[in-house]
């Protein structure tokens, strides 16, 4: 087993990208994710890779599109305002079925907002942030170890399903240091990339595109994409359950909020309250089954987010019809990160 390291969440992402075979990175500086390009600008040249500090997030996502069209593993990272700029390219990648990993170490908004931890980009991430009706894989790490492991998973899922995959974190999981076991790249069996542009040689012409003008062509394309999303939902939903077996109330939270919620849940348990946690790890596909199964028994959910209510909509759509879903949210901004005591109070209020 590899030795334990002590690293920042953002660095863990960069390390995992390299372990996953990613040698191409394109980005534009923005707080709080700059550790990722800083790390990769140092390491990729040593590995014969390419690091480009692009002129904008628009350029970086399109460089990712181009690199990915040739079949290599490639990545970009940014934070909320930059991710907004990338939406055009993400839509084109989804349309052209291109893999590629996009990291959003999100910050608070709207607009320039602030740099504090935020979960206000949930809708943008899981509902198709750009035009045209599509989905991407969205993974929400809540520890440095998960920043690492889920980054490698993101590359595999992107290749397996030929679609962009996003890591959605924030400054809490991005900036904190924790022990990390730098696991080896998983031995996933991946499909042959027989669709990449390579210079046709004596073979057939290949085209990577999202324009479909023939009669019925685009509808068929969209239906095929939809089938893929259904397959993804059936196979790849991931979540963590903590102390749910006998729980009378289950907290739903993801990413950094789930960490604070976990502390509050442990405090509640010490006071004899039967409280658990259901933490979606994949935000898309959303772990609907987990919520449906859980709420056949436990009828009370308290959804907690760093926003005024986004994931709670998916929770409501997933739970048993007679389950109660409560919500507690803190919109992001300086000083708005809730304390465990504050969440404990909410737990008691709804218990």
């Amino acid at each position: 087993m590899s030795k334990r390291l002590f690293v920042k969440g953002n660095e863990a992402i960069a390390m995992a990208a390299i372990e996953a075979g990613c040698r191409y990175y394109f980005g534009y500086p923005i707080t709080p994710q700059s550790d990722i390009p800083e790390y990769l600008s140092r390491e990729l040249p040593k590995l014969n890779g390419e690091f480009i500090q692009a002129e904008s997030e628009i350029a970086s996502i399109n460089m990712l599109l181009g690199a990915s069209a040739t079949g290599v593993r490639a990545m970009t990272s940014s934070s909320s305002p930059g991710i907004s700029l990338k939406q055009e390219g993400i839509s084109y990648m989804a349309g052209a079925e291109l893999p590629g990993v996009i990291v959003n170490i999100s910050r608070s908004g709207p607009g320039l907002g602030g740099i504090d931890a935020s979960q206000a980009d949930y809708f943008q991430s899981v509902k198709g942030g750009g035009h045209g009706g599509y989905h991407i894989v969205v993974l929400a790490p809540s520890s440095v170890q998960e920043m690492y492991d889920l980054t490698m998973l993101a590359f595999d899922l992107a290749d397996l399903y030929r679609m962009p995959a996003m890591i959605l974190g924030d400054s809490v999981v991005g900036q904190m240091k924790e022990p990390l076991i730098a696991n080896k790249r998983p031995q996933t069996e991946l499909p042959v990339k027989d669709w990449v542009v390579r210079g046709k040689g004596v073979g057939e012409q290949r085209v990577v595109k999202s324009l479909f003008l023939g009669d019925g062509e685009l509808e068929a394309h969209n239906n095929r994409l939809h089938d893929k999303y259904m397959l993804l939902s059936a196979r790849e939903a991931r979540w963590e359950e903590f102390e749910t077996a006998d729980a009378e109330l289950v907290v739903a939270a993801f990413g950094s909020t789930a960490r604070i919620a976990k502390t509050a849940i442990m405090q509640a348990r010490q006071e004899g309250l039967k409280v658990g946690l259901l933490r979606p790890i994949t935000l898309y596909p959303f772990p609907q089954r987990a919520f449906a199964d859980l709420t056949r028994r436990c009828k009370r959910i308290l959804d907690i987010e760093l926003n005024n209510g986004q994931m709670v909509e998916d929770v409501r759509l997933s739970v048993a019809r007679d389950a109660e879903v409560h919500f507690y949210g803190r919109p992001p901004g300086a000083g708005s990160l809730p304390t465990p005591e504050e969440l404990l109070e909410q737990i008691k209020k709804h218990y």
């Binding site: 692009a54 399109n62 460089m63 181009g66 040739t70 055009e88 542009v197 290949r206």
Partner: protein
């Protein structure tokens, strides 16, 4: 009998959708001939842009990636960095390259990406029905400049070849036209020279080709052709602006 004229192998044997008198088809042919002459067809990855040339893959028998509007130089950067052995060119209109894609073209050029850019300047947004472009001449009437382009409000037309020439990263820049046999032969020569830069790894090469859009200029093909050599070439001077290699 000796065959003296044939279809370039890089070009497909299909009818194009271009309007009568449009120069896109001629420029396509010159690009295909240059590809044939360097024998690069089999390792070429073309990057299509959004405009009347969006169907690049329908006419060239090469691998193609389609870029979002204006982003072709960024897409080409990703392609070329990931596959440095491939021959990469973008083919972009003036709305695409000189308006929405100005950041991408300037920075790809400034980085000196080892790619070739074919920039087709027809002083209008052809595909969307002839709106004002950044290259529309002062006084030119378009569907969104019904009183003629007004320099005080709209600025003067951008000369991209001259602009890019300023950048250290640009190795070769030329403006050509295909409106008469002499210009056409020179255009072919300059496109070949631009390709040679990439073939020999000598850096970023740029061709601006003046092009007729009879449909949106409201002219017949002959009058449109004459406009290219007339008021267009008066403002957008033909010539080689930068030529840094010794070959």
């Amino acid at each position: 009998m000796q065959q003296v004229f044939k279809r370039p192998v890089s070009l497909k044997d299909v009818q194009t959708h271009f309007c009568p008198g449009c120069h896109h088809g001629t420029i396509h042919r010159l690009v295909a001939e240059a590809m044939d002459e360097f024998g690069v067809q089999q390792r070429t990855i073309g990057v299509a842009s959004v405009g009347c040339s969006v169907f690049l893959y329908g006419y060239f028998d090469i691998d193609v990636v389609e870029a979002p509007h204006g982003r072709a130089p960024a897409v080409a950067t990703g392609v070329k960095r990931a596959r440095p052995d491939s021959f990469v060119f973008t083919y972009q209109g003036d709305g695409d390259l000189a308006a929405i894609g100005t950041a991408e073209i300037i920075h790809a050029a400034n980085r000196g990406e080892d790619i070739t850019v074919i920039f087709v300047n027809n002083t209008t947004y052809g595909m969307t029905g002839g709106q004002m472009a950044p290259t529309t001449l002062v006084g030119q009437k378009t569907s969104t400049s019904p009183y003629g382009r007004n320099q005080a409000k709209d600025g003067a037309p951008i000369r991209m070849a001259e602009l890019l020439t300023q950048l250290e990263g640009v190795a070769f820049a030329a403006r050509v036209a295909v409106n008469n046999p002499r210009n056409l032969l020179d255009a072919k020569k300059q496109i070949k020279r631009a390709f040679r830069y990439q073939v020999e790894g000598k850096g970023f090469s740029f061709i601006e080709a003046l092009s007729a859009c009879p449909t949106n200029w409201g002219m017949n093909p002959i009058a449109a052709n004459e406009r290219v050599g007339g008021e267009m070439a008066d403002y957008f001077k033909l010539g080689v602006y930068k030529d840094t290699a010794e070959f």
